[in-house]
């Protein structure tokens, strides 16, 4: 209960918000000016890649991270001045500012009592600094939106109906080329039922542009009307006697009374996060658009490869300058594009056998170039990335010429045949071992068919050594990312292998 006592004490220092206005509160005492504010930021990251994200935070922000027991979250302290850089992190999906962390929260016995406690909690939390951060963050996002609009050229593309969208708010830029062939940053949406439908970020773009528009037009109104808010509750734990909806509802009710804000589930200014994991509660305020879109994604059960996951996979193999990095089953190119953006001192090749995929990858690359053009204000700058149409079982690459292979292996689902995997996986691993540079080469492979993969790998001990496994959760599905090192043994083409290779049907999708 000591945390609650602390919160109550802090309450005495806080000025209450006047109704109908959001007023910048300056506090007396030990708190510093808003510009030098130190805050705790929470970030959601792909589960399994918490350490990778922590490494990126240390590298780019100089802060050390706490990795939460609640999987997929990391926490770190920054000064508010670094807020812009925080948004540039490539390994985080969503950001929030921590209002309060309550460790070892004592839940009462009955649901009524627990929910009453949540109601009481709302008024006792140290809201003012986090809200300052939220405000700075919002104005920073609006500046970005303004710049986007100035740089925007030509029309917006088609909307796909919101399924399987990759959320990448940082990179959402409304700068489309006039290329009629769908030039938007796409993501590989894997679902056996809609295997040729590729999801787009366009929906995101338009949705967030709508939000921006609303924000822009209502910017003047913000100061003159009550803020709109929602509460999102995530609950995990076996001993809770309440649901996340109930907690969100009652906590939200109290927040509404306290701030005199208006509750609005879809068109909100402030998103309050109530994260409950066993006995730990973290209250936060979202700094990125918490994905209503992503909630739709989980509903459809996708395995969308988010750019954050692509980043995590690339980081795992520690790319060095001049490394040649190949994704031989690139889909729409999520991994190579992330690679070309973040590791521009390497050379990236995106390959796939599906002409639709390769074309989309190429279009995504063009969009990336256009984005760079606008950002850097340079005419048609190229990037160290190329696309090729090829067959993974027969890669048209020189033996031992590739430093890193990184890919999402989609076979199990799209083929719909586990039996085929038994032939396919060994063939892939073999061909990958051929093109990969002996001794220094490595591969990072994401797969859901872990059984088949492990079995295939067990027969390749002479060329591949498994170094590390990251267990990931993708849309509720348990997958694994395997980091493999290429042994120094040179690839030997045996007649036996050639015979096995001579079954073309198994290599065509």
């Amino acid at each position: 209960m000591s945390d609650i006592q602390e919160a109550t004490d802090q309450l005495l220092d806080v000025n209450l918000f006047e109704n109908q206005r959001f007023v910048q509160v300056t506090e007396s005492g030990h708190r510093s000016e808003p510009e030098h504010l130190q805050v705790t930021i929470g970030a959601t990251v792909p589960t399994g890649f918490e350490q990778t994200a922590a490494d990126e935070v240390r590298e780019k922000l100089g802060s050390s991270c706490k990795i939460s027991k609640d999987r997929g979250k990391i926490y770190f302290d920054i000064s508010v001045e670094s807020l812009a850089q925080v948004h540039c992190l490539r390994s985080v999906d969503n950001l929030f500012v921590v209002v309060q962390e309550l460790k070892d929260y004592q839940f009462k016995e009955t649901k009524e009592e627990v929910l009453k406690d949540f109601e009481d909690l709302a008024g006792k939390l140290p809201w003012s600094d986090p809200l300052k951060v939220w405000k700075i963050n919002t104005s920073f996002k609006k500046k970005k939106a303004k710049r986007k609009k100035i740089n925007q050229n030509s029309s917006k593309g088609k909307i796909n109906n919101g399924r399987g969208e990759k959320i990448d708010e940082r990179d959402v830029k409304k700068d489309f080329t006039s290329d009629a062939l769908d030039p938007h940053i796409l993501d590989y949406y894997e679902n056996p039922g809609i295997k040729e439908e590729i999801s787009t970020l366009v929906g995101d773009d338009l949705a967030s542009s709508k939000e921006d528009d609303t924000d822009e037009s209502s910017k003047e109104e913000t100061d003159h009307r009550a803020l709109k808010f929602r509460v999102t509750c995530n609950r995990a734990g076996e001993k809770h006697c309440f649901t996340s909806n109930e907690a969100a509802r009652d906590f939200g009710g109290a927040v509404q009374d306290y701030f005199k804000w208006k509750a609005d589930m879809t068109n909100f200014d402030v998103e309050v996060l109530l994260n409950i994991h066993d006995n730990e509660i973290v209250v936060g305020i979202a700094l990125t658009e918490e994905s209503l879109h992503r909630r739709n994604i989980t509903h459809f059960g996708p395995t969308t490869l988010r750019s954050t996951l692509a980043y995590g996979m690339l980081r795992l193999c520690a790319p060095q300058p001049s490394d040649i990095i190949v994704d031989p089953m690139c889909g729409t190119g999520a991994i190579p594009i992330e690679g070309a953006t973040e590791w521009s001192k390497c050379y990236h090749i995106a390959g796939d056998n599906n002409p639709l995929a390769v074309n989309r990858a190429a279009n995504n690359i063009s969009s990336l170039l256009t984005k760079n053009q606008i950002q850097e204000s340079k005419p048609s700058w190229g990037l160290p990335i190329d696309a090729v149409q090829w067959d993974i079982c027969n890669l048209p690459l020189r033996t031992g010429s590739v430093d890193i292979i990184v890919t999402d292996m989609p076979f199990g689902k799209r083929m719909g045949s586990k039996k085929r995997n038994w032939n396919l996986y060994p063939a892939c691993l073999r061909e990958m071992s051929r093109v990969c540079r002996p001794g220094t080469g490595r591969a990072v492979l994401l797969t859901q068919d872990k059984k088949c993969f492990t079995k295939a790998l067990s027969r390749m001990g002479h060329v591949w050594r498994k170094v590390h496994t990251v267990w990931v959760n993708i849309g509720g599905l348990h997958a694994a990312v395997y980091l493999l090192k290429r042994t120094s043994q040179a690839f030997v083409r045996s007649s036996e292998q050639d015979e096995e290779k001579g079954t073309p049907s198994s290599c065509q999708e």
């Binding site: 300058p321 001049s322 040649i324 521009s344 001192k345 390497c346 050379y347 090749i349 056998n353 002409p355 390769v358 074309n359 190429a362 340079k378 005419p379 048609s380 700058w381 190229g382 990037l383 160290p384 190329d386 696309a387 090729v388 149409q389 090829w390 067959d391 027969n394 890669l395 048209p396 690459l397 020189r398 033996t399 010429s401 590739v402 083409r493 050639d498 015979e499 290779k501 001579g502 073309p504 049907s505 290599c507």
Partner: protein
């Protein structure tokens, strides 16, 4: 398709093996795309480049000022590195063909993307 990619590509028509390299390049449309110069990248890439293949491709495209090979102390020779940077990264073949030197099989390049897929017969033993 950049020339660095061409340098890595090899024909995989059955039975051809290492004689499938390098692919003979023919281009009908080429674009020059400035790419940010990174001397460290170029210097480290030099040992990985197959020079004969690069020179052959550069010759087909009638590129000028292509170094014949790594010069002494090339790592610190900015002029050399810039020339290599240009040849490897800034020349983009948009339309053309790649031909297997052994079997004669043609692979088309369209919109900058080489299509290296083989038919069933070409992959069968």
């Amino acid at each position: 398709m950049k020339l660095l990619t061409h340098n890595l590509l090899s024909s995989h028509v059955r039975g051809v093996g290492p004689r499938g390299y390098p692919l003979r390049l023919q281009a009908t449309e080429v674009r020059i795309n400035p790419v940010e110069f990174n001397p460290d990248f170029v210097a480290r890439m030099i040992p990985k480049v197959e020079w004969a293949a690069l020179l052959e491709a550069a010759d087909t495209l009638h590129l000028v000022e292509v170094p014949e090979g790594p010069t002494e102390g090339y790592e610190r020779d900015e002029k050399f590195l810039r020339k290599m940077h240009h040849v490897l990264l800034e020349v983009d073949v948009l339309e053309g063909t790649l031909q297997c030197p052994e079997s004669g099989r043609l692979f088309p390049i369209s919109r900058g993307i080489p299509n290296m897929l083989l038919n069933d017969e070409e992959t069968e033993t």
